[in-house]
């Protein structure tokens, strides 16, 4: 019985392969063959519309629309829309999308017309691990250093304590490193964690962590897909040196209410979505951890009053006013709370945004949004004699207009402008009986205009280039210190409320080229200049929640990066195997670090603790991935080095960045054993991160203190870890209204003791110092039950 089933599967896979090959050939044709009629056109008309999933009504991004007779096609944009100019006539239109059955339709197009294509999902037949929107898009698009992950792919990555997490998934990608064991902080090509722009539906998330970083704020049930850009960001985004992680929330328009959820060891979650009339759809999602609920069972009243939890709430409503106008309202709120009967600590993000998509004409789409984000933390004690609250936050209000303009099928413009108001509240301390104490707030405006152009020059060459111009302004009310060469304050200037007292104007050119050698391979080169105006004063490796963002100013110049990358991309076996080699070099200017023993919190002269200098990062990333078939997955290898040279640190000599890892290998494999079972394995190996060990000691009153002779001159032992997971999906019982699924995972399966912290202690008897290693996790099994209806 099982063998028969295998045989059937094999046949269907072969069919799929030939279909994929067919699509590939067609798409190569429509991309690279100039139709001859173009020289002698008939009356041109516009065929436009959207491509949707036929059951969920989810708009499909990057679906192919192909006019067979003309050998011409286009793709849907980020709203699932397409538009193509063709001579009037009757045509076979083919609509295809990876993971969906290709649809063919005979259409007579004599005037401008709209056509909505509903595609049937074929995911069950064709598992996609690393999604490619078009089979060989990895070869033809100009972008480099971009990795996309869909909800399904993220789900497959074995997760710590069963908490499926987009950030943990991207840490398996080449050039991406976790900043420390289990952390959701990540370093991209040697950059620090605050150099990543993390967006949830286009709204900035300043701290994407829960539980000190062991989990992230992204509930995978509401994530549609995530894209990571390792340096060369889309022209509409900027403000960070290293990367963009663009997480999109589901945007389906289901015809009836449906749900998805799960019960795990750490948290439970439930997502509901549905229609409200024919034009409105909604999504509401919640996730909460419940370790603290067990505390309520304790016999000790003190324990019962303790709380440790985190939660996330996502909500999204979309309403289509007309064929040309759609409005979205998004909301996210998440919080972590650790509390005892008299002390508590909480932190979290609140995001709200509204956006309006408008179609001006067949070729011009606009996206106008207003976004608010707030990351805040609060510590409080009600203990006798030490009542205190301490609050800190960063808030942004951002207005962004983005326009996509398809001038011809070969030239696409993307332009727009944005304006952001930043407000930084470093610390507000309140104690009953004493006046409030506040470290001065600071305010800044960040305005940007940008224009970018995608141009297909000929059959082989495509270009992408653009320019962002950013104006960054510090705004009063403020007392601004001037510092002497010893970083001591030597002058103070006062500015009134709303007074602009300092302005930076920075230009960020970006350029990319792809040269397609043949149907299977291409060469690419990219250049990007990135500028970052705000940064975190937090020099812990793990990223504690006590983030303190501060802006560029008269004393702190904006950080800058020049990223050069070059790559060779080749697909094998009809695009089922993608390979790539990318080389990059990143030169960094005004890069920030902090003085030895810097005091970052409660310091109104924080800028005096900042040291700036130069840095460089370079490396090679090799990726091999298999996208289709029963066994899917990838292996990648990264060779890299990241250095900083900052006067005042390490005696002005170059030192390794904290996340520098010479060699790094990530292996991720998924295997669909049967209809019911699938298994995944992830293995990570990396050179140990740099560490500073003492080279000497001195003694005072019987205690030993370390002497260091250089920063990051040693390394921890190499890091490696195997994670496993298995998913069991029982056959759906038609009598049951829901479909369940069990997931079993094992983090660090062979219990490797990966050092998290190296610390020192004095031997109890001899008093002589000794070294100690702390590792956070042994092998951690977990079980999660997921369901959907």
């Amino acid at each position: 019985m099982f063998q028969q089933h295998m045989k059937r599967k094999r046949i269907s896979r072969l069919k799929l392969k030939s279909i994929s090959f067919f699509i590939l050939c067609l798409s190569i044709h429509f991309l690279y063959i100039e139709p001859s009629y173009a020289l002698n056109p008939k009356t041109n008309v516009t065929l436009s519309g959207v491509v949707k999933d036929n059951t969920t009504n989810e708009l499909l991004i990057g679906a192919n629309i192909y006019v067979v007779e003309l050998l011409k096609g286009c793709k849907t944009d980020s709203d699932g829309k397409y538009s193509i100019r063709i001579p009037n006539g009757t045509y076979n239109i083919k609509i295809s999308y990876i993971g969906y059955k290709t649809k063919e339709q005979l259409l007579t197009v004599n005037k401008d017309m709209r056509f909505t294509a509903n595609l049937e999902s074929g995911v069950k037949l064709q598992e996609v691990v690393i999604s490619s929107k078009k089979k060989n898009e990895n070869l033809s698009k100009v972008d480099m250093g971009v990795q996309g992950l869909s909800n399904i792919e993220i789900q497959k990555v074995p997760a710590l304590m069963g908490e499926v997490d987009v950030i943990k998934a991207i840490q398996f990608l080449p050039g991406v490193q976790s900043t420390s064991e289990g952390s959701s902080g990540f370093s991209v090509r040697g950059g620090s964690a605050d150099q990543n722009l993390i967006l949830l539906d286009n709204t900035n998330i300043y701290n994407a962590s829960h539980m000190f970083g062991f989990f992230s704020v992204f509930n995978n049930d509401v994530v549609k897909n995530a894209e990571l850009y390792k340096g060369n960001l889309p022209i509409r985004f900027g403000g960070r040196l290293s990367s963009l992680l663009d997480v999109q929330i589901k945007d389906e328009s289901p015809e009836k209410v449906k749900g998805i959820g799960g019960i795990g060891l750490i948290s439970s979650r439930l997502t509901l979505e549905g229609p409200l009339g024919s034009k409105t759809s909604w999504l509401v999602s919640g996730r909460r951890s419940y370790a603290d609920l067990f505390l309520k069972l304790s016999s000790d009243p003190d324990k019962r009053s303790e709380s440790i939890y985190f939660y996330d709430i996502n909500a999204k409503v979309s309403h289509r006013f007309s064929a040309k106008d759609k409005i979205y309202v998004n909301f996210y709120s998440g919080k972590d709370l650790f509390g005892t009967s008299s002390e508590d600590f909480s932190y979290g993000n609140t995001l709200a945004s509204t956006s309006w998509n408008h179609v001006f004409s067949k070729n011009i789409f606009s996206h106008l949004s207003i976004n608010y984000t707030n990351y805040h933390y609060e510590l409080g004690s009600s203990m006798e004699n030490s009542q205190i609250t301490w609050k800190s936050n960063i808030q942004d209000l951002d207005l962004h207009l983005d326009i996509n303009h398809h001038i011809t099928n070969k030239i696409r413009l993307n332009y727009g402008l944005s304006s952001t108001f930043h407000q930084f509240e470093p610390a507000l301390i309140k104690r009953p009986g004493y006046p409030n104490y506040r470290i001065q707030r600071s305010y800044a405006l960040e305005h940007c205009v940008y224009i970018g152009l995608d141009e297909k020059v000929n059959d082989h060459i495509s270009l992408k280039y653009g320019l962002r111009t950013t104006i960054f302004q510090n705004m009063g009310k403020a007392s601004v210190f001037s510092y002497d060469k010893n970083y001591e304050v030597n002058d103070t200037s006062y500015y009134k409320s709303r007074k602009i007292y300092h302005t930076y104007i920075r230009y960020e050119p970006r350029f990319g080229i792809v040269y397609q050698l043949d149907h299977n391979s291409s060469l690419k080169a990219n250049y990007a200049h990135n500028v970052q105006f705000i940064q975190i004063a937090n020099n812990s490796d793990s990223g504690s929640p006590l983030d303190l963002w501060f802006p560029a100013s008269k004393n702190i110049k904006p950080q800058q990066a020049n990223l050069y990358s070059f790559g060779y991309f080749r697909n094998f076996n009809q695009n089922t195997i993608e390979t790539s080699v990318e080389l990059y070099y990143k030169g960094l200017n005004n890069i920030i670090d902090f003085a030895d023993n810097a005091q970052l919190l409660f310091n109104d002269k924080l800028e005096g603790e900042v040291r700036t200098g130069k840095g460089k990062a370079y490396g090679m990333e090799i990726m091999i991935k298999k996208n289709t078939g029963r066994l899917t997955g990838f292996i990648n290898y990264t060779l890299s080095r990241t250095e900083r040279t900052i006067p005042g640190i390490n005696n002005g000599k170059a030192y390794l960045a904290p996340s520098d890892k010479t060699h790094s290998v990530n292996l991720m494999l998924s295997y669909k054993c049967s209809k019911k079972w699938s298994i995944s394995a992830g293995w990570v190996y990396a050179t140990g991160t740099p560490v500073t060990y003492p080279t000497g000691r001195f003694e005072i009153n019987g205690e030993y203190y370390p002497i260091y002779s250089g920063r990051n001159t040693s390394r921890k032992k190499d890091y490696h870890r195997l994670d496993l997971s298995a998913t069991y999906t029982p056959t759906k019982n038609p009598k049951k209204w829901y479909q369940g699924e069990w997931n079993f995972s094992l983090y660090n399966a062979y219990w490797n003791k990966n050092p998290w912290m190296i610390s020192f202690d004095q031997n109890t008897n001899s008093g002589i110092p000794k070294a100690q290693m702390t590792y956070l996790f042994g092998a951690i099994p977990s079980i999660t039950y997921n369901f959907k209806f």
Partner: protein, 305 residues
């Protein structure tokens, strides 16, 4: 007066260790040994005592021998006000101890500047080098009272050390507190309670908690490794404290020592860095002068509420 960062960060560390049952084990690491340098440590106080300076040599971090004392130095202390300068020679009572004391008792005076000169041929090149430092003694803070209150928190019994005092409004002040419990002086820098007047500059602080001690009955709730670095109190213990108004430099030194002693914590600490010093010529350690103010109290039996 107390900066909230220390207590809250301690609190976070406690939460963190509850959350994740991490494991710690001894390891051997190989490090290069840096060239030894002289280590000078001394504090001049306003107590009428024989003031002392300790001199030793640094050594490799994992060296199995104790650090060597410097016993052949010429140590002089100069005190200086606007028109008066006094010079004191400091000598060892027992040669080889590395502890150099003034011959007679003397009390440092707030507002005076103290200059230390240590002359020794540490690098054995036949010529003695000078290692120098100076410090101006800050004014005294008047400690009006101190008391200890008993608190119950999350299953633990704690004692809060509270002080009442007027903080001078002129500038940021830095303090540390040394204590004896039943006559035993806790003189290790890791046991000092350091704080400053950030957020309370110029205020009169009234019974403000500067530290929490665990009750001795809680010992079993901690592991042995932690217990050896902790200080516990019991009902009836007699506590004597000295609050000292210190320079920013010495406050930084104490904070650096406490922060760097055990290496750096990836979650809450910055990168490892050398502890600051004010001794010249490449030596380590610190020399400072500070004034003191003291009070006594007895650890209570009953809860304050």
């Amino acid at each position: 007066m107390s900066s909230p960062s220390n207590t809250t960060i301690t609190m976070l560390i406690v939460f963190f260790s509850i959350l994740f049952n991490s494991c710690t084990e001894d390891i051997t690491i190989n490090t290069n040994n840096s060239i030894p340098v002289p280590v000078v440590y001394g504090t001049i106080t306003d107590h009428y005592i024989r003031q002392e300076i300790a001199l030793s040599s640094s050594t490799g971090y994992f060296d199995q021998k104790e650090n060597e004392r410097i016993s052949d130095a010429i140590v002089t202390l100069e005190e200086d006000s606007t028109n008066i300068t006094n010079t004191y020679n400091l000598t060892q009572d027992s040669v080889g101890s590395g502890i150099y004391k003034t011959q007679q008792p003397m009390a440092g005076k707030p507002g005076w500047t103290y200059k230390l000169t240590v002359k020794t041929d540490f690098d054995l090149d036949g010529t003695a080098e000078n290692y120098e430092a100076e410090s101006k003694m800050p004014t005294r803070i008047i400690l009006d009272s101190m008391n200890i209150t008993k608190i119950k928190e999350s299953g633990y019994t704690l004692y809060s050390l509270n002080i009442s005092a007027q903080d001078p409004a002129d500038q940021t002040n830095y303090y540390f507190c040394k204590y004896t419990i039943n006559g035993t002086l806790y003189n290790k820098i890791s046991k000092y309670i350091g704080f400053d007047d950030t957020s309370l500059n110029g205020m009169y602080v009234d019974d403000l908690s500067i530290w929490l001690f665990y009750d001795k009955s809680n010992i079993s709730k901690f592991n042995d490794d932690d217990v050896k670095d902790m200080v516990f109190l019991s009902s009836g213990d007699k506590m004597y404290i000295e609050i000292c108004n210190i320079t920013k430099g010495y406050s930084d030194f104490i904070e650096d020592c406490q922060g760097q002693k055990d290496g750096s914590n990836p979650m809450f600490g910055g990168p490892p860095a050398n502890i600051s010093t004010n001794i010249s010529n490449g030596a380590r350690g610190y020399f400072t002068a500070y004034s003191t103010s003291s009070a006594n109290s007895i650890v209570p039996k009953d809860f304050s509420e």
